[in-house]
């Protein structure tokens, strides 16, 4: 099993770098995961990550992209409520990259 | 020689019956015709006829390969018919009439085989996938074909004695074999081919008729296709 080091703690991740235990997540861990993805976390990144975690808390799954874009539009303004904007923040794809940083399991299936 | 004749024929027959029964008895659990496919059984018969007589799929795949394959198989069919004169007596008029075509067939067959063999050497992809036996089959068929043509054009054997010999085999009272080097080579080659047929890739001949992607009708929504082993516990509930 692979691991990452954050602030002296050793945290388990799976083969693809997703957290094995969701409860290991905190903002420091997220920052470390983001660094591995080559992403510099800004306020706007955190908005997305926090929303993902809230949604996951309630529904036990990552939000559909449309739910996410609507939520972001509400928070950051309608001009940012689209997937192009999300791809700007998370170039490898909001569903997967943002989920990884948010400590959620990888969305699977035909996505 | 006569012993070999009987042994090879018997091996061929038993082997083929065994393989064909095996194919026929193995269930096809699902409908898997390669579509677009004919929706009716009449359409399937037509598809298989196009496949086996004209090599439809091969034509789509590779024209040069199709050409050599048709040359070889078509030639072989004519040669086969020509050889019937050794097995039937009296020889019917149509068979007499088609004898020269059998010779052309022999030439076509050898040319086709040479083309197929050349491909295995010259095309790197085909060389990569060829096993020693792939070359040997072509060589064996060439030996049979070339020795046959040699007897037609160069060194005629005693065909009257040959016919008498084959007729005697037919009646299980073997006469002496009309020894002739080319004839011996020709017949031995043929017997080897016959005996190995059911244990080799030559099974593509019966196989094509049992190929589910080609012999199934595309009617999955109209008929509930069932295979015995797959009726699971779910159905008995």
């Amino acid at each position: 099993m692979a691991t990452i080091e954050v602030a002296g703690k050793t945290i388990e991740v799976d083969e693809e770098g997703y957290l094995t235990n969701l409860s290991d997540w905190d903002e420091e861990v997220a920052a470390e995961l983001a660094k591995k993805e080559g992403i510099d976390m800004t306020e706007n990144h955190w908005e997305v990550v926090n929303f993902l975690r809230e949604y996951y808390e309630e529904y036990q799954v990552a939000p559909p992209i449309r739910v996410l874009t609507k939520a972001i539009a509400k928070k950051l303004g309608p001009e940012k409520g689209n997937s192009d904007y999300l791809y700007e923040l998370f170039p490898y794809g909001p569903a997967k990259q943002a989920c990884k940083i948010a400590g959620l399991p990888k969305p699977t299936g035909c996505v | 020689m006569s012993g070999l004749f009987y042994l090879a024929t018997l091996t061929f027959l038993i082997g083929m019956v065994w393989k064909i029964l095996q194919y026929a008895r193995t269930p096809a659990p699902l409908k898997i015709p390669t579509t677009p496919a004919p929706p009716t059984s009449a359409g399937v018969v037509a598809r298989l006829a196009r496949e086996t007589l004209f090599f439809e799929s091969l034509f789509r795949a590779n024209l040069l390969l199709w050409f050599f394959a048709v040359l070889f198989h078509g030639g072989l069919a004519l040669v086969f018919i020509r050889h019937l004169r050794y097995f039937v007596d009296p020889v019917p008029a149509w068979l007499v009439w088609m004898q020269p075509f059998g010779i052309y067939g022999g030439i076509a067959m050898v040319l086709g085989l040479m083309g197929l063999l050349a491909r295995r050497f010259l095309i790197r992809r085909v060389r990569y996938i060829s096993t020693p036996s792939d070359y040997l089959w072509l060589v064996l068929l060439l030996v049979i074909g070339v020795s046959g043509l040699t007897m037609t054009y160069v060194a005629h054997p005693d065909v009257v004695a040959l016919k008498a010999y084959i007729q005697s085999l037919w009646h299980f009272t073997p006469a002496p074999f009309p020894a002739d080097p080319f004839l011996t080579l020709h017949l031995l080659g043929f017997l080897v081919l016959l005996a190995l047929f059911p244990f080799s890739k030559l099974l593509h001949a019966p196989g094509v008729f049992f190929s589910p992607t080609r012999n199934q009708a595309d009617d999955a929504r109209e008929h509930r296709h069932l295979a015995p082993w797959s009726q699971s516990e779910l159905e008995s509930q």
Binding site: C110 | P27, P36, S57, R119, S130
Partner: protein, 510 residues
Amino acid sequence: MATPTAVPTLDPTTIDQFTPDAMAGVRSFPAPPEIQGAIGFAPELSEGWEARAIARMGELLQENRALRVFLDACVHCGACTDKCHYYLGTKDPKNMPVARQELLRSVYRRYFTFAGKWFPKLVGARDLTRDVLDEWYSYFYQCSECRRCSLFCPYGIDTAEITMAAREILNHIGYGQKYTSEIIGKVHRIGNNLGLTAPALRNTLEGLEEELKEETGLDIRFPLDEAGAEVLLVTPSADFFAEPHIYSLIGYAKVFHAAGISWTLSTKASEAGNFGLFIGNHQQMRKIAHRIRDAALDLGVKRVVVGECGHAWRVAYSFWNTLIGVGSGADPDDRYGHLLQKQLDHRYKQPSHICEVTWDLLQRGAIQVDPEANDHLTVTYHDSCNVARGSRMGDTPDGAFEIPRAIIRKVANRFVEMDPATIRERTFCCGGGGGLLTDDLLDVRIKGAAPRMAALREVVETHKVNFMATICAICKAQFTKVLPAYGFKMGMVGGVHQLVSNAIRLGQNG
């Protein structure tokens, strides 16, 4: 992070220039023991796997005529050698269909044929060793089971059947692939490949209703679990989750709305996809399909309709009648078949593809469209492999090609075909089908997309095509990912019903 993949160029003159074992090291992650175990496979490789693998192969040979015939019949003619998109894109000769088959066939020969037992070298027979097994794992997960090779094989040998058998053996002995096994576990546990829980699904659908209300002023519904609806729509869960998939879902809803057909989705059957097909496991495939039968019976629907999903349509069209009785023509004494079939309305094809439904309504004038709505698009159509070579629509053999095109021509004014050698039954796989749509295989996916991308580039350059329509969730996801690697915009791909959604006239029945 994924390593960047060099985009292959396709030059017909270099077709023979290959590099042996170029892709041997490209492997998706094997499934961890808990994932394998959860769906009833051996958790991991253990002592004696060789014998268990050979025994399983023996069983498959008894159960499946296709496998039996295909393993015997190949003559190594080479007709298939330049037909596989993965060979064309990777130039690894083991990605030639015949060579891929040979990985399994060589072992079959060794253990099941006279020639292979006594003359292994002569006929290319091999013992099943760990190296051979790893090679299976590499290359049988570099096949998308698209059946293009089977179209060209003179004996109809379908590499998909060989790949499925190999994956079944691998799973049986505990060497499964994480992507497919994890998803199959989710379908059983939660009801769909994505793991969308019922509350999440309901929330998503309600959100869509609100959104469409704002946009159109109409109550366009996305009903869930509504007993007594006429139509049960079974669609890939990606349609609820991802873009561009969701635009087609909106399209289906608008079609049903405009035609006044009552319909429902089901939480139990919230997935059309059936990855049991990909791993060649009959029991899994049946079990996954069985959710649809249960949902149809529970909800009392008259019709079962399948959304835009390629392999799901193959399973639905070709296998559902066999597996779960969704179809027609069960024998009078077939109680299991009749239980469902007497409930279904056989004036309609069972199951129907959403394209069949929409085309029928368009032909009858039951829905109206304004093709001008798509005038900003020049559209081409990518035939999805499982639809093209493993199923049909309508009454004629070429219905699966004609019906989606007929819809597109009706709803869009500008339609252009790609190179005829790359469409209809000759279509090239998107490069992500058959269980390969996973990040760890991105390299293979990008390379495998090369033939399709080349054909697309041609029509982009000559006709300014800016939209490639398709009817498969995997194609949509795969293209979204690989189009940028080829310098195209990811938004270029979308569903046929995305176009319908743009053009359909609403309100008459609202």
